[in-house]
């Protein structure tokens, strides 16, 4: 059941998207997300969607995996869409009790739902195609200019690396402890809410103990190898842009230009 967690998972491959510089992917993602929030028309969404599908195809990540990452989100999407459907004022479609559905609400709800889905699929695509190490390297490099203002770029990146590194370990550990306690008759999936919360104690206590133990061991291991933070460290793999990245940036900016053009066209000329 814990195998369903896809957060932070990396699917190794050698596709075009995998080969992009991680900085390109992060900046690309941020630009795409801003694009999602600029957009208000279905036409522009068609462009965003087409771009998204192209990127997914290029990444060679199975569509199934993308859908899988969306699974935990269905409820939120549905909820948001429903809220919009009922609270947006406008031409009524029908009335349910004291709530009125409106055409404008349907419009807004649909757009909002699409927004969330696009956002989530693109964000997971980033972790699917970028190894955690590359991701944190890129974040460190992107934050570097801010270290002049006191932002501890290296430390933040190191913390992220460690956190990402331990997600799978903790998931495995949780799975193991759950199984061990289930063999002793523990039941994690039935009973009242209070009972279920109480059932978490045999799981959480060992999990915390082992997390602290691991943290301790890691700190000792790092110290034993003379780790002293970011200054004067050199790296084995230095990040470098290639022509692939140039093309990716061009593609993203063209997409943004189209979207902005559509938006301007809509507001100025009422198209």
């Amino acid at each position: 059941m814990l195998n369903d967690i896809t957060l932070g998972q990396y699917i190794p491959s050698n596709s075009l998207i995998h080969r992009l510089d991680p900085r390109t992917k992060i900046i690309g993602l941020l630009l795409y997300i801003s694009g999602i929030f600029i957009v208000e028309s279905y036409l522009a969404y068609a462009f965003l969607g087409a771009f998204g599908i192209t990127v997914v195809r290029l990444s060679e990540v199975p569509i199934k995996m993308i859908l899988r990452s969306l699974k935990p989100l269905w409820f939120i999407v549905l909820f948001t869409a429903l809220i919009h459907l009922f609270v947006t004022p406008g031409t009524p479609i029908m009335t349910v009790g004291s709530f009125t559905m409106t055409w404008e609400g349907l419009d807004q709800g649909l757009l909002m739902g699409i927004r969330l889905l696009l956002l989530m699929s693109f964000a997971t695509l980033l972790t699917y195609t970028t190894s955690p190490i590359a991701l944190t390297d890129a974040i460190e490099r992107l934050l570097k200019p801010l270290s002049r203002f006191g932002v501890p770029a290296h430390e933040l990146a190191m913390m992220m690396t460690i956190a990402l590194r331990f997600i799978p370990t903790l998931i495995d550990e949780t799975d193991r402890i759950m199984k061990a306690q289930r063999s002793r008759g523990a039941d994690f999936s039935s009973g009242s809410l209070l009972r279920r919360v109480r059932c978490l104690i045999p799981l959480l206590v060992p999990l915390f103990i082992s997390a602290f133990r691991r943290a301790d061991e890691l700190a000792v291991a790092m110290e034993a190898r003379c780790y002293r933070g970011g200054d004067h460290r050199t790296r084995m793999h230095t990040l470098a842009y290639t022509s692939l990245d140039r093309n990716a940036y061009i593609a993203v900016f063209v997409l943004l230009a189209i979207i902005i053009a559509i938006r301007i066209g809509k507001t100025c000329y009422g198209m």
């Binding site: 199975p62 402890i177 199984k179 061990a180 306690q181 063999s183 002793r184 523990a186 060992p206």
Partner: protein, 287 residues
């Protein structure tokens, strides 16, 4: 009365790029009262296999029955059958969580719905198993114990459930020789009192000494199933599965290669000594 696996296959993460079939078409039967050892190289599917025996994992295809009852149905009898099988995981001391040793051992029996008197009795018996004096240790925290003691308390937490079948996944991993001997002596004691034991181990010596029957796992397939003598006579098969024969047997084989007339199927150190003595004396007579 037995545990029977019928064509059990288990695939992890079905439908993802990480899909992996950990065990393939495994069938066997473990009779009540037996001491069975499961050996195999790292990643050969031993842990996956044993987790099927008490329903922690359910087979992707195939069936598991305990005393004739399919343990993967929703019926109450299925749950009761699962509860006959106790499971001690690798490094079980990491599952301790209660404030006192007694409370931790009582966790299982209480979940099984025993009343407080019964629970108390089970705790006393299990602490006896763990070699910890009840008066002195019952109210102590399990986290103040030594590694070997913690391991014994954790195992005691499963023993307190009085399983008819007991599975132990590498119970001696990471223990010093003395701690290891204590645990194995305890396990042998349980077996003598009628518990069916299923032991997963990397140590051929331990396995050769204790088991009535050995299962060899290789890349998810049950590659061999037989008595220790039968298994350790098949050196090529073991080599292919990434395993060794016990050091004693290996030594005898070396001697035989160098022309001594010893019996190289012997697994036990005393018998080995006898065989060597005989061979040496035999040589003397010939001269």
């Amino acid at each position: 009365m037995s545990i029977t696996l019928n064509n059990v296959t288990h695939t992890y993460m079905t439908g993802t790029p990480f899909e992996r079939t950990a065990i393939k078409n495994v069938s066997f039967s473990i009779n009540e009262g037996e001491f069975v050892a499961i050996i195999g190289h790292t990643g050969s599917g031993k842990s996956t296999l044993v987790q099927h025996l008490n329903g922690l994992l359910s087979p992707t295809t195939g069936t598991v029955t305990v005393d004739g009852i399919d343990i993967n149905t929703k019926k109450a009898e299925s749950l009761a059958a699962r509860r006959k099988v106790g499971m001690v995981f690798q490094y079980p001391e990491y599952q301790l969580f209660e404030e006192t040793i007694a409370a931790d051992i009582a966790f299982g029996p209480r979940n099984f719905g025993l009343n407080e008197d019964e629970v108390d009795e089970r705790v006393r018996e299990a602490m006896d198993f763990a070699d910890l004096d009840y008066e002195q240790y019952a109210q102590r925290s399990p986290f103040q114990l030594s590694g070997g003691q913690m391991r014994r308390v954790a195992i005691a937490g499963v023993i307190a459930l009085k399983p008819r079948y007991l599975i132990l996944d590498e119970p001696a991993a990471g223990l010093d020789p003395i701690g290891k001997r204590i645990i194995f002596d305890k396990i042998k004691g349980l077996h003598e009192h009628g518990t069916t034991v299923i032991l997963v181990s990397h140590n051929m010596d331990d396995v050769a000494k204790m088991a009535d029957r050995i299962f060899v796992m290789h890349q998810g397939v049950l590659a061999a199933n037989g008595t220790p003598k039968e298994i350790f006579a098949q050196r090529d098969l073991l080599k292919e599965a990434g395993l060794d024969v016990p050091p004693v047997t290996e030594t005898l084989r070396c001697l035989k290669e160098h022309g001594f007339a010893v019996d190289d199927t012997v697994l036990d150190i005393d018998e080995a000594a006898k065989s060597v003595l005989q061979a040496v004396r035999g040589d003397r007579h010939a001269e």
